[in-house]
Amino acid sequence: MAGSQWDLPPELCCRPMAFVALTGLDVVYNAVHRAIWDAFCANRRADRVPISFKVLAGDHEYPKCRTKRTSYEWYIPKGILKTGWMNKHLNLVPALVVLFYELDWDDPQWKEKQSECATKVEIVRTSLQGRNAKVAVVLIQKKTPLPPGEDLVASERAQALCTACDLSGKSLFVLPHTDHLVGYIIRLENAFYEHAQTYYYTEIRRVKSHKEFLNKTTHQLLFVRHQFKIAFFSELKQDTQNALKYYRTAYSLVHELRAHETNMLEIKTMAGFINYKICRLCFQHNTPLDAIAQFRKHMDQCKKKIGCAELAFEHSAWMSKQFQSFGELFDEAIKLGLTAIQTQNPGFYYQQAACYTQDRKQLAHQLCQAGASYPSPDPLDTQSGGLDFYGQRPWRQGHQSIDPQDAEKEKVGILALQIKERDVPHSELIIALLGNAVAQFKKYKCPRMKSHLMVQMGEEYYHAKDYTKAFKLLDYVMCDYRTERWCALLTDILSTALRCAYLMASVKDYILYCMELLGRASDLKEEQKSRIEKNLLKVLMNDVPEPEPDCDPSSVGAARSLWTDRMALAGSNEMTIEVQDYIPFIQCKAKFQSPSFHVDQPIQLQVFVRADCPHPVSFNKLSVSLSNQEYNQWCVAESSGQEDMTLLPGKPKRYRFSFVAKTEDVGKKIEITGIELMMGSDNGRCVFLSWRGAGGDAASAHEALQSSRSSRRWARGNEAHPELDWDGITLQNSTMIISRVPKISVVLSHQPPILTNEMYCIRLAVQSQEDAVARDVQLTTGLKPGQDANLSQTTHVTLDAFKVCDDSAASLLPDVPLGDLQPGGTLEKCIYFRCGSTGPRVFLFHVAYSVETAVEGRQIICKCHKDETVTIDTLVPFDVSVKFVSTKFEPLDRVAVDIPFLLLTDVVSSSPWPLLLASSSLQLLTLTSNTPQLQSQLQEVVLQTAECATECFCLRCPPGTNDNNTVATGQYLISWRRQSSNPDGPLIQTTVTLPHIILESVPVYIYADLPSFGRVRESLPVRYHIENRTSLVQEVEMAVEPSDAFMFSGLKQVRLRILPGTEQQMLYNYYPLMAGYQTLPQLNINLPRCQSSNTQALKRFLPQRIFVKPQGRQPEDASIAAA
């Protein structure tokens, strides 16, 4: 590429290595030689000595060596460094020439071969005329040599050969061509390396030796040259430490040279070379700071050495190259393991290089006046085609005096250079350098630096008229500056981008950037803004905008025609801009008036729009889109309508929308999903600014935060509504639609608490305050959902007053139709609840209806509902207790089989309200009633709170039921209701399960017949019945104990037998002696046959006492007579 004139020569940049020439090898036709050559070249890794080998013909002509001058007396050097020199010593003049020759010690024609070898050596020597290069001989042998000393022939012949070729023993080598080739080769090359070292050493000595001949006045150039050469040889000798040292001296010497217009370039060039070498070595020695320091010094010393003013661009070019190549050295060092840091990385040098190339470009523009034709003959070409010395002018090579010897030539030369500079693609160079820099800064975490460089690249592309690329880059970084809110920078970038957009006639981008440049994020001057605004309006009118100022005139022409084409083609005239990524000049905020609306009030929505541009701007349409699109139609404002769609600069404008919600949307949320504002017109070009949600753009979030903290007073005085202070407006992007407030009252009348299992009646009265008919009023009632689960198992609702609902009835009755309700009218309904378990319950009464109302003159039918809840406790109506007693009302713990006993039931009311006990009944198991048919003794009894109703039943356990275990008695059923409840309402059956009883059997049953009372001195017959309940004959001993209260007749003591299943009767006549309750004479019974059963048990059956009345007035003799 052009500018290569400034590139450093490769021989400078490479790493110098000792040059060794190999002759006598036929690598083309001789396989053995080939193998040897390959062994030399193949994988030369770091562990091999640094030598560059070349295969040359035996009679190769090496560069002639000029005759050594004996004195520098009259010698005037023509320049600092010959352009050929470095290459000469790298590639042309060997440090050592090696002659390969096939010869075994025991070769038959030894003599001939020996002399042939000698001649070959001689040829080489002659062609090296005057050089200090050494010659060495390698004998390629087929046999492996014996250990040294053993092969006498060998040593003796070696001797001979050396003398023949006049070689020192050290220069003769043997290369057995066997399997260990590589090993031998490595040994060989090490030997060669030593030879090379000595060679370069002597070279250094040689150059040094010139020193004393030189004098300060005429030979400064030589001082530099020699130091450079020494340094370079040292490098070839791989002595980098010394190399560095000599380069440093060389460097200081260069700057000691007397610098003037004519030799400035040469000096800078050499300075550049040496500096490069120094930096390179510093990095190589891993002392990067030295490198950097050296480079800084270098730059400080050369910055001002501009040289020929007409060619000032050359200086910038050179500076740029200096930075670039240092950057490359730095980068290379990093690749080799050096660690760089954020603030010291190659990026800075590339960036600086780019900078200087930019200067170069500018200077070139100033200095290279167009038009002038390229002079001929070409002052820049030399017969040799190149220069003899680095950094000299072709038209006056070797000329060292201060003023050019030929002013005319000078002018022509300069002109030529200027013209050449004209066609240098500066921008390419700049962009390339910036590109490198970007890569570096990216690596070292400098995002902002990176974007800055990308901006520069973009601008460079812009200058290079590559608008698409420019545009891409700018657009890419723009958002970083936007989000970090660096307005000045954003504005700058936007402006360039706008120019690109204009020149590419990319309409959308053009509009976009206009809008942003008009907006609050741009810090453009008023007049610029108004210019842009005008252009924007033009584009919207589908008109060609004025070109941006300082656009390249040539491209403006092209742009114009592009625009006219754009405008011509129809369609594609609509575009939408997603605002949230930009900061356009129209701002928008929207809010619902309230976070919720009743369905029968119009939903109010306000949209605030504000323009930040200098002149009034008008738009055509403003539309809000809501989560439910059906409402969108109500939220549109159009210029066609009466709305004023012109925005005055900085004055917020409010647009009010209101609509009526759909009744089915009750309970739903309405959200603002977006706002769209249309500018321009269908016949022209229309742009839709579209905001997401309730407005706001890339900058608003921050602004909102700031204003919330601000101490600024909201719009002062009455000059504006406070809410029209823009920052004061807060977004409200959603609202709830809630059902209309019901205009009914719900009254519940009932008598708590609920009694278990009763049909509890709640009377519901719905009164309407509506002014229209409330249609299909519906009641949902029952247990309020969400309570204890098993409550719903034991709670049942019904409307049927006349039968007790069973457990299948639900706990909640949905949507019971109650019909229509006239204004002012009342609906009543009784609902019955049955609760199987005690405890509190919450009951729900949900009355829903629909009514027709007018909203905004529109009739809508909306549903309303009113909820009432009531908490009621449930109690048991009464407690029932049961006990068993003997016929003598003695409590029984066990019941004797086939012997009557009594069951007593007590019913105690625990209800606060009077209870009506309709009837009761027994359902007996195993037991039987002693009374023929038992009927309830508490029919139609009314129990007040805490009153008790008792019943008594005589029962017996039928014989044969297997004794000595417990038996279920049966159940006691009570049917009842509240006294207050509807007489023909159902009765509730409450069932009480009677306790079990324990049975026992007695072997003998005894009982007495006796009158209910006696009278003093009147006989009192008592008949004892004794039954044998066993299947055996029972023997019974009976005795009556005497008593003071009675006399008696009958057997005092008797022993008798009773057959199974039969009974015996004993009759006694007692004769009471005293009145009052008297204990009957004790009857002792004994069953000798079964001692098991105790006689005490038997006693239980017998009456203990009897009441004796006193004697009457007239004595009854009859009784005595009877006795």
């Binding site: 400098c446 800055h452 901006v455 970090e484 809110r485």
Partner: protein, 139 residues
């Protein structure tokens, strides 16, 4: 003496930028903006660095060919950036420090002005005066 002085908000947007009138103002905006890379790096490396003395003064951020850029960060993460001409070699480090101190003091007063809303651009006359005192006088 500075050629550009800037105050940068916690969120890295400029609260105040002033540069010598003569030169391209925009260029300084870029210089300051890019210097934030280094500032952020230095701030984030607090505690990580072994011998970190957590000074508010961040020292020389980076040298460009023609400017030296110095940085300073308050505990409220507000950054001050001072740009001086690199030709101006007379300036000692501690002079820069004292410039930053002055800035910081004045900035603190701005923060304490009840009518100032933190995060807004700085318009204080007093602050402006202090800055003017530090700028290279031109024309």
């Amino acid at each position: 003496m500075a050629v550009c002085i800037a105050v940068i908000a916690k969120e890295n947007y400029p609260l105040y930028i002033r540069s010598v009138a003569t030169q391209n103002e925009l260029k300084f905006h870029y210089t300051v903006h890019t210097s934030l890379d280094v500032v952020e790096e230095k701030i984030s490396s607090v505690g990580k660095a072994l011998g970190d003395q957590r000074e508010l003064y961040l020292g020389l951020l980076y040298p460009t060919e023609d400017y030296k850029v110095y940085g300073y960060v308050t505990n409220s993460k507000v950054k001050f950036v001072i740009v001086v001409d690199s030709s101006n070699t007379s300036l000692r480090d501690n002079e820069i420090r004292s410039m930053f101190r002055k800035l910081h003091n004045s900035f603190t007063d701005v923060m304490c002005n009840p009518f100032y809303n933190p995060g807004d651009p700085i318009q204080s006359k007093a602050f402006n005066g202090v800055v003017s005192g530090m700028m290279v006088q031109t024309g």
